[in-house]
Amino acid sequence: MKKYLSFFKMRLMAGLQYRTAALAGLSTQFVWGAMEILIYRAFWLEHPERFPMGMQALASYVWLQQAFLTLFALWQWEQELIQSVRTGDVAYELIRPMDLYGMWMTRSLALRLGRALLRLPPVVLLGSLVPAPYGLRLTVSPAVFGLFLLSAGLMMLVVCGMVMFLYALTFHLTDPNGVQVVATAAADLLGGAIVPLPFLPAGLRRIAELSPFGAMQNVPLRIFGGDIAGADIPRAMGLQLFWAAVLIAGGWVLMRAGLRRTAVAGG
């Protein structure tokens, strides 16, 4: 276990050192968040009764989404890993007495966390300075906040499980680009990245919420704002757990099969 921890630490440090990228991302995210809230505000002022979420819950959703962006954005691939599979360099990762899946999973988790740690505090701070109901506010009980944290952890597993599944798929395809584009687009729409899922038409919303993409940012961000509450919390988190398990198991099997095949094909 210690080796995976050290590996985690290493990648975390690597993620932490992109200062300029974080600064640039930071301003983008703040401006973007503010713009989104202004647009939603216009709709909300027009017909507050037809709004599927409370304005406060929505504002918290948007700010947290911006703060956590690098944590769950599916498109934060490591091209390096995909390239290493395409060129066969991945073979040289196998001279380490480690499991490749574990190594890459650790690496993905750490890098996302490292990048997020830089951006999280300032966006959270700025967001909470914005006046209610347009700012970031904690409106739920500490117990629910605890569930939010837990759900955010599950989200990480689902996201990295999905990313690992796509990396593993690379072993079986010549060019994984197409799959990546489709997955990214699906995650944007069905994951609540473009608009929160309550704003989708009922049928699509049901599909989105049951899909693995709906087990990502959708759950923790809405738990935080109180939009998913009561008995819906364990149900949503159960679904997260289910998708995390399916994606991780699927990716692991796919990678194993891929490695065997790569070995046959000559790395």
């Binding site: 210690k2 080796k3 921890l5 050290s6 590996f7 290493m10 440090m13 690597a14 050192q17 360099d89 073979a91 040289y92 196998l94 001279i95 380490r96 007495p97 480690m98 499991d99 065997r260 070995a263 046959v264 094909a265 000559g266 790395g267």
Partner: protein, 265 residues
């Protein structure tokens, strides 16, 4: 001890003619060529030997190294390294193996070399005291000093190669595979690296398999040479024997070139 007996490995390569017409045709029916990379490869390397594994490009050198590293599974034949079948006991096997690929880096690019070393220590579970001792010894022998505190991307090729070799030896492997370790190095760095390999072999009894195109490496280091071509073992002997075969007072380099021609490689 490293043993290979009757090892065969064939790659399946997809081939087609250039052009749109054949590109479309290959959508429907694909043609594969079978490329034999190793044919009935057999040799034994006892513990503590430094062996030069040489041959022209495409001879099957890296295929052999990959099989011995447990990365690649041969089609048939027997292969054991210190009693383990590399691809079946991969993790256990690579824990006792050090590998340096001259053309790529195992150091993490953006962090100081010492951080990479510490990570390798944890990956290979080297006890702290032993790690300290080994690193001190390697630092003295390879003249690492300040290099350890420098990010890998800031190192010159020669400096990096010395760090790479140190990184491959941190866990005191019994077997060391060196794949063109002196490629692109200046004269001083080359000499340093060679001297160190000899030292390591003498002091620790490390078995070294060296693949290279640099015959001076072979002259300086190898008591024994395995010459392969087209996937077959063509010659197994000392550099003196190779020179004797070519005759006429040629250097090892010229003798090897002569042998390549003679074997029609």
């Amino acid at each position: 001890m490293i043993e290979m007996r009757g090892v065969n490995k064939t790659y399946r390569v997809r081939r087609r003619e250039a052009g749109l017409g054949s590109a479309v045709k290959s959508l429907i029916s694909r043609q594969y060529d079978l490329i034999p990379a190793l044919r009935e490869m057999s040799f034994t390397i006892p513990d503590g030997q430094i062996v030069g594994y040489i041959g022209p490009n495409g001879a099957g050198k890296s295929t052999t190294v990959k099989i011995l590293s447990g990365i690649l599974r041969p089609d048939s034949g027997v292969c054991t390294v210190n009693g383990l079948v590399p691809w079946e006991d991969r993790k256990k096997h690579v824990a006792r193996l050090g590998v340096v690929f001259g053309q790529r880096s195992q150091l993490w690019w953006d962090v100081p070399v010492a951080d990479s070393m510490a990570l390798l220590r944890d990956i290979y579970r080297v006890p702290q005291a032993q790690y300290r001792r080994t690193l001190d010894r390697l630092t003295a022998l390879l003249d690492l000093g300040d290099l350890l505190r420098t990010p890998a991307r800031m190192l010159s090729l020669g400096q990096r190669m010395r760090c790479e070799i140190a990184a491959a030896l941190l866990h005191s492997p019994q077997v060391l595979f060196l794949d063109e370790p002196t490629i692109g190095l200046d004269a001083v760095s080359k000499l340093k690296v060679r001297q160190f390999i000899l030292e390591q072999n003498r002091l620790c009894g490390t078995t070294v398999v060296l693949t290279t195109h640099d015959m001076q490496d072979v002259d300086a280091l190898c008591s024994r040479v395995l010459l392969i071509g087209k996937g077959r073992l063509l010659l197994d002997g000392s550099t003196a024997q190779i020179r004797a075969m070519a005759g006429e007072n040629l250097s090892t380099e010229e003798s090897v070139a002569d042998l390549y021609r003679r074997f029609g490689l």
